[in-house]
């Protein structure tokens, strides 16, 4: 081989072009956003609609429609009422005149002439339809000739009357010609009652397509689609200047002042009529210029659709069409100087992100936004609702939107933007995959309003339909009541969902269906919403102040009263009597709507949803106080210990480790219940480092016990009569475990359980784990003990601290956690999950709330956690929570790697099931492993996912009317064995006394001795012993220890009287051996079997359980008996 120089070598290995591309692609950004791009590409491929097969026969249908319309005979001018009645007589077609219908004596003239142009527009031509769309509409515009209109037709709905007549004529012809293959209906274009259109629904497939279908019956070849025929005007029919937002075009029959009132919606609809073709051209141009445009439109369509937005007025009036127009305008020239805001060289995902950014920054619902070089007349635009003004075509793109839908889209865009900026979160799924339009998951309060019963009010202002006029009024009132800046905004968002107007047959006139309901959603500001006293304007002497007060009084009515506050300020005040955030909001809404709109008075036409979940757990407003009192008691306890003078070592730290002391137990901590002995709250204590600990595990445990004895004695001495202490034994399996704890009971009722942390213990255990010369079983035990040690003395104190912090940061966190724990209890899962895991699961939707932001009520917090649990694929994803707020990318990477390693060494997922890592613990198993066992096991985790999934399905199906109790009903029929505990017997164990003789038998002991003891207890005032653990839990632990292999037990809250159990399906018939995992019986012999087999002796096991429980068990149900 020839020697080659260094230079030469370099030349011989040119970097391939592929590599260059890879490097370029790799350096485009952070890992997460790269993944987002790749995933978005996958999505685009997945949702792509194959036009050839999906929309088969559309072209054919379009041609037939065109032919039919072209064949219509033109006719000369007729009087409008005359023409309409003629049409009705001849074809039984009701002309869909917009309200108010033309008067009988009006002498407007209508005529029909051939359309000047036909065109197919919309997403059919731009090929941006997707598979998952609700309905696939093919839009065909029919341009009406200009000579059937007159110059002044833009006034007083004349244009729309003529348009409606024109449409009716087309409908008559179409019905005649294509009745055989399609159904012809009227509907409103995007729910706009000014613009009726024809909707053609193909009914039966044409002959050849049915033949095809019969050949391949399994394959659905075509989708349900419909063709919409939209009559429109040519671009320059009316001068644009006449259609400005601020002009008043509805003048006839109105009072003088009303006649000068601007009619922006009417004007914009009229302007939009002339813009179809011009927008079609715009979109085509941009499509050609910008390669990523189409995919950005599809991504936008998915994004909008997952959030329930659509072009229809009832869906917010911002759909795919508006999205693509906005994007096109920004690409063409968005800013005031006519320069393009976005570059055409951006890719699809970049365009998508840019538009989200635009929507999140531009709050066009509040402040009009002009696209292009026009200056809006501010004073008129101010009350026109949301304005996105296309200055070239002089049209407000957002004219169908309402203030609340603009606010909602603004919020969604903000949330999505913060997600896209968060490199740590999964950006793709919340943005595109999750469906986020379930009202209960979206809003803290949902109210349903049956507005058919509401008093009719004449809608003077706009011809936009009664529902809209009403909801607009509703919104203004609610906004003033709930989101007033002066009072402090109670609601972050108010949204009103109006019903959709369905299509109707040609022979009828349009009438909105009866019993329609309107849904009002409110998103709380949880701090402000809890306010029970509203301070209005100060009552002063000046005219301005008086005016303010009058305004306030006019709005709030009798509720407003004058009150004197500190520093002698006298203010108009509102006092609300409810206590919880939800109830306050309900009270305000009921009051104010009743006052101004006279609804909700009867109570039947206004109903509220969302609170029912939290009322399942009896949340009391005083709970917060009780939790805080427990914390206070704890600090007293801490001080008492620190004040002890005779302790040989300095106290370094005393930390609480139980849910009661971090605001997250289902029931608030209760002291001094007469029915049960004290249930102490767990705490740990650590001392300054000392070399005096003996270097042996057992000796350390004994020293700790001696220490506890000493602390107990000192405490009793320091506050005689106020404190009593009991030293308790752990149910330890070996001597090197923690063997003792100290229960400290205050006279006030607060009680604490103290365990000592010794640093040396950890060091010794670590050494044992690493020492390869030791026996395997000793090392395994040391590993378990070390994990338990770290859990108790490192993780739980830190966890308690961080949850306590978050509880103050998010007021809704504590009730969400409690509700979630109640759910785990109800489904008998809580004995399989650590409390800390459940808390972290709830915390997750607060820290990574996407696609929303952090929940502001228990219901949303709970439901979104369920959504998360249902979607969490724990087999292939770790849960990473950045509790400290400073996790680096490298740390995340390390956690991810560790997770992959776990899955690789344990592909059956038997040892590490849920992997949860936080800022405090990167190992991922601290919260989900207890005593060396995975908590939960795979079975329990699978069951959790299944239950969460079915809960989410129920919420989706039933909407707001879902009965929350149904989410909490355990399905007992799933269990093989049900052990019903006797609540009376359980209660009798709750209270024990030191004088109770353990060897004496209560049942057989005579009533005399019992009463003697009772008397004694009463006489000496002896206090009962604390509870080591709830008796049912103790019993369950014993059962678990005895039947770890054969039965899996399920149990919920401490007062849950039923234990469910299922047989381990892996315990099959097997050959006999000495160390059987459970009780077996010889199987009935079958011919041909050589060896004698044994099978699980289920009945004997159940009988054993009955013997263990004796009087504790009321009844055991076995499945199938």
């Amino acid at each position: 081989m020839e020697p080659v120089s260094a230079k030469r070598r370099k030349l011989e290995h040119p970097i391939s072009s592929e590599e260059v591309a890879l490097v370029a692609a790799a350096s485009t950004g952070l890992s997460r956003s790269r993944a987002f791009i790749l995933e978005a590409e996958e999505l685009l491929g997945e949702v792509k609609l194959s036009y050839g097969t999906a929309l088969q026969g559309v072209d054919d249908l379009l041609h037939r429609i065109k032919g039919s319309i072209e064949a219509i005979e033109p006719h000369e001018t007729l009087r409008i009422t005359h023409a309409a009645s003629k049409l009705e007589k001849k074809h039984k077609i009701r002309v869909p005149f917009p309200e108010p219908k033309p008067a009988d004596d009006s002498n407007y003239k209508v005529s029909f002439a051939k359309p000047t142009q036909f065109n197919v527009v919309g997403s059919y031509v731009s090929k941006t339809m997707i598979k998952t769309q609700k309905d696939h509409g093919v839009d065909m515009v029919v341009v009406m000739p200009g000579d059937i209109f007159q110059d002044k037709d833009y006034l007083d709905m004349r244009y729309f009357y003529k348009r409606a007549y024109y449409l009716a004529v087309i409908a008559a012809s179409l019905r005649k010609d294509i009745e055989s293959v399609a159904q012809v209906l009227f509907e409103y274009l995007n729910g706009n009652p000014l613009c009726p259109i024809i909707s053609v629904l193909p009914t039966a497939k044409t002959d050849d397509s049915t033949a095809q279908n019969s050949e391949s019956p399994n394959k659905k070849t075509s989708l349900d689609y419909h063709v919409r025929i939209i009559p429109c005007s040519s671009n320059n029919l009316f001068p644009k200047a006449k259609l400005q937002l601020g002009t008043a075009l509805l003048r006839r029959g109105r009072a003088e002042d009303a006649a000068s009132h601007p009619t922006p919606f009417y004007n914009s609809t009229l302007a939009a009529e002339g813009c179809f073709l011009s927008y079609l051209r715009l979109l085509r141009q941009v499509e050609k210029k910008c390669a990523g445009f189409k995919s950005a439109c599809i991504l936008g369509r998915v994004w909008l659709q997952q959030r329930g937005f659509g072009g229809d007025i009832s869906e917010g009036g911002f759909g795919h069409f508006e999205w693509s127009l906005l994007l096109a305008l920004l690409l063409q020239g968005g800013d005031s100087k006519g320069h393009a805001t976005l570059s055409t060289s951006l890719s699809g995902t970049q365009l998508f992100k840019a538009l989200i950014q635009f929507l999140s920054v531009t709050n066009f619902g509040e402040k009009p936004c002009a696209l292009g070089a026009a200056v809006l007349e501010q004073e008129h635009a101010a009350d026109a609702g949301p304005v996105l003004f296309d200055s070239t075509r002089q049209l407000n793109l957002a004219f169908k939107m309402s203030s609340w839908s603009a606010a909602l889209i603004h919020h969604h865009a903000k949330w999505t933007r913060s997600l896209l900026n968060n490199n740590a979160a999964d950006q793709f799924n919340p943005t595109f995959i999750l469906k986020t339009d379930a009202p209960l998951q979206n809003f803290d309060l949902v109210a349903r309003l049956n507005y058919d019963n509401t008093p009719k009010q004449t809608t003077e202002d706009e011809c936009r339909g009664r529902a809209w006029a009403f909801s607009n009024k509703l919104y203004r009132i609610l906004r003033r009541a709930l989101a007033d800046k002066e009072l402090g905004e109670r609601a972050r968002l108010i949204y009103i969902q109006t019903p959709r107007h369905p299509s109707w047959p040609l022979t009828n006139s349009s009438s909105p269906p009866k019993n329609q309901v309107m849904e009002i959603g409110v998103l709380f500001d949880s701090v402000n919403m809890a306010r029970t006293v509203d301070r209005g304007p100060p009552a002063g002497a000046t005219a301005e102040e008086k005016e303010e007060c009058n305004k306030f009084r006019r709005f709030w009515g009798e509720k407003a009263e004058l009150r004197r506050f500190e520093r002698d300020s006298i203010r108009e005040t509102l006092i609300w009597s409810s206590t919880s955030t939800f109830e306050i909001c309900e009270e305000i809404m009921r009051y104010i709507l009743g006052l101004h709109l006279r609804i909700g008075v009867a109570g039947s036409d206004l109903s509220f949803y969302g609170n029912a979940f939290s009322s399942l757990v009896p949340f009391k407003p005083t709970d917060l106080g009780v939790f805080n009192a427990a914390r206070k008691d704890f600090s007293v306890f801490e001080r008492d210990i620190r004040d002890l003078e005779d302790l040989p070592l300095h106290v370094r730290r005393i930390a609480p480790i139980c849910p009661e002391l971090r605001h997250s137990s289902v029931k608030p901590p209760s002291f001094g219940s007469s029915k049960s002995g004290p249930q102490p709250m767990d705490t740990v204590i650590s001392f300054e480092a000392s070399g005096k600990w003996p270097e042996h595990l057992i000796a350390i445990q004994r020293t700790k016990a001696a220490f506890l004895l000493m602390i107990g004695n000192l405490l009793e001495k320091s506050k005689p009569g106020h404190i009593r202490t009991h030293i308790g034994l752990e149910d330890a399996q070996c001597e090197s475990e923690n063997v003792c704890f100290l229960d400290v009971i205050y006279e006030s009722g607060a009680s604490f359980r103290l365990r000592i942390q010794s640093d040396l213990e950890e060091t010794l255990l670590e050494r044992q784990v690493k020492d390869r010369s030791l026996d395997q079983h000793i090392r395994t035990r040391a590993t378990t003990l070390l994990a338990t040690f770290r859990r108790f003395y490192t993780h739980l104190p830190l966890h308690t601290q961080s949850i306590s912090t978050f509880v103050t940061r998010f007021p809704a966190l504590s009730p969400s956690i409690r509700l979630l724990k109640h759910w785990f209890n109800a489904h008998k899962l809580s004995c399989h999950f650590t409390q800390d895991f459940i808390e972290l699961a709830a915390l997750r939707v607060f820290l990574l709330p996407y696609p929303w932001d952090a929940p502001s009520s228990a219901t949303t917090g709970f439901l979104r956690t369920l959504l998360f649990l249902a979607h969490w694929d724990w087999r292939s994803e770790p849960m990473i929570l950045d509790t400290s707020g400073e996790m680096t990318a490298a740390e995340r990477k390390a956690i991810e790697t560790r997770f992959q390693a776990w899955r690789k060494i344990d592909p059956g997922i038997n040892h590490t099931v849920l992997f949860v890592a936080t800022g405090h613990d990167g190992t991922g198993v601290a919260y989900t492993t207890v005593d060396g066992q995975a908590q939960p096991s795979k079975v329990a985790a699978t069951r959790m996912t299944a239950l969460a999934k079915s809960a989410c399905r129920l919420i989706k199906q039933e909407g707001v009317t879902v009965d929350p109790r149904r989410l909490f009903v355990p399905s007992l029929k799933d269990y093989d064995v049900l052990i019903h505990l006797s609540s009376k017997a359980t209660k009798s164990i709750l209270k024990t006394y030191p004088t109770d003789d353990p060897s004496r038998d209560d049942e057989e002991g005579s009533g005399l001795t019992k009463s003697r003891f009772k008397n004694l207890d009463e006489r000496t005032g002896q206090d009962s012993l604390p509870l080591v653990q709830h008796p049912a839990a103790v019993f369950l632990d014993q059962l678990n220890a005895a039947y770890s292999g054969s039965l899996v037990f399920f149990r919920g809250a401490p007062d849950d009287a039923t234990i469910g159990a299922i047989w381990n399906p892996q315990m099959q018939k097997r050959t006999f051996r000495v160390n059987l995992p459970t009780s077996y019986k010889p199987a009935v012999e079958q011919s041909g079997e050589e060896e004698i087999m044994v099978e699980v002796n289920r009945e004997a096991i159940v009988a054993e359980i009955a013997r263990l429980g004796l009087d504790l068990i009321e009844r055991i149900d076995v499945k199938g008996e």
Partner: protein
């Protein structure tokens, strides 16, 4: 129904009739498997011992005694040892606890602990153990389901008889046979066997809070024992210091000179500090030369490409799981 086999392998099948209880009103049959005791290390008493497997979880010596009485009459049964009791022997007893350095010394020196076989020492050990043991928190412990026990009978003949009696149970008609089965005693006197159920749990709660005096005594006894061991260890160390081993080396032990060797904890601390210092020094030397900088940049670039590849791989894997990229409806 075909009859239950009388034996499985070398085990005899002992069916036991379990009477019904109000909470589970059904009488069922439990099967215990019995054979002669044959441990790996035979002992003298093996001939009069029987090995039981699959004993009920609530078995006690009293239960088994009563079972034997109904099988072969009174006076044959001597004692029973259950699985977990035997295991306890292996696990660390508190009296075994001795300071780590003493254990290490002994191990290092190859000087195996003297076998203390003489009866006096054994008795002393037991006494120490008993004194140092913490009070029990259960009146009765349960056994793992399917666990074993060894029963010692009066003599070899009794063992024979028991096995014979078990064999007899299987003879005769299958329908009537269950009537002959011995019955598991459920109504024993509470004085002999503490009852389970409520009173058992109640007693547990009471027993979990032993009197402070009792606990203090146990702890004191243990401390005395432990410090005695420590003392012994110190003496041993002293002895070893003066005694070269077979290779002629003298072991370095604690308390030899004025500067004692550091304790393990101190040594670990020192090691950690040293490592830290080394780390710091290393950190100072990075990016010192230009080639280091260049190499680092190259590595970063490679890392970037690698991560991109990983992302692509991940997306590819996700695609394999169907439905990941379809928006929910």
């Amino acid at each position: 129904m075909s009859p239950i086999p009388a034996t499985i392998g070398d085990f005899s099948v002992l069916p036991v009739l379990i009477p019904s209880l109000p909470s589970f009103p059904k009488s069922v049959v439990h099967y215990i498997y019995v054979r002669r005791n044959a441990p790996k290390v035979p002992t003298a008493d093996d001939s009069r011992r029987l090995f039981f497997t699959n004993v009920p979880v609530d078995s006690t010596e009293v239960h088994l005694r009563s079972l034997f009485t109904s099988l072969v009459g009174a006076g044959r049964f001597e004692s029973a040892t259950f699985e977990h009791e035997r295991k306890d022997d292996n696990s660390e007893a508190p009296s075994d606890a001795q300071p780590l350095h003493a254990a290490r010394l002994l191990a290092a020196h190859g000087n195996k602990k003297r076998k203390r076989d003489d009866a006096e020492e054994v008795a002393e050990r037991a006494r120490d153990e008993k004194a140092a043991r913490l009070p029990k928190s259960w009146t009765r412990t349960l056994h793992r389901s399917g666990s074993t026990a060894v029963v010692q009978l009066a003599d070899e003949k009794s063992a024979e008889q028991v096995l014979k009696a078990i064999g007899k149970l299987h003879r005769g008609g299958s329908s009537s046979s269950s009537k002959k089965y011995p019955v598991w005693p459920t109504t024993l006197d509470a004085k002999l066997v503490p009852r389970l159920g409520t009173s058992w749990l109640k007693a547990h709660n009471v027993l979990s809070y032993p009197s402070k005096a009792a606990l203090q005594t146990a702890i004191d006894n243990f401390s005395a024992l432990f410090s005695r061991r420590e003392q012994e260890a110190a003496e041993l160390a002293k002895r070893l210091r003066n005694e070269p081993d077979e290779n002629g080396f003298v072991t370095v032990t604690r308390g030899a000179g004025r500067t004692a060797p550091a304790s393990m904890t101190e040594a670990e601390e020192a090691k950690r500090k040293m490592l830290e210092r080394a780390e710091k020094k290393k950190a100072e030397m990075t990016d010192f030369y230009r080639f280091q900088l260049r190499e680092r940049q190259k590595e970063e670039q490679a890392e970037l490409v690698k991560r991109f590849e990983e992302d692509r791989q991940k997306v590819f894997e996700m695609r394999a799981k169907r439905g990941r990229f379809v928006p929910e409806s």
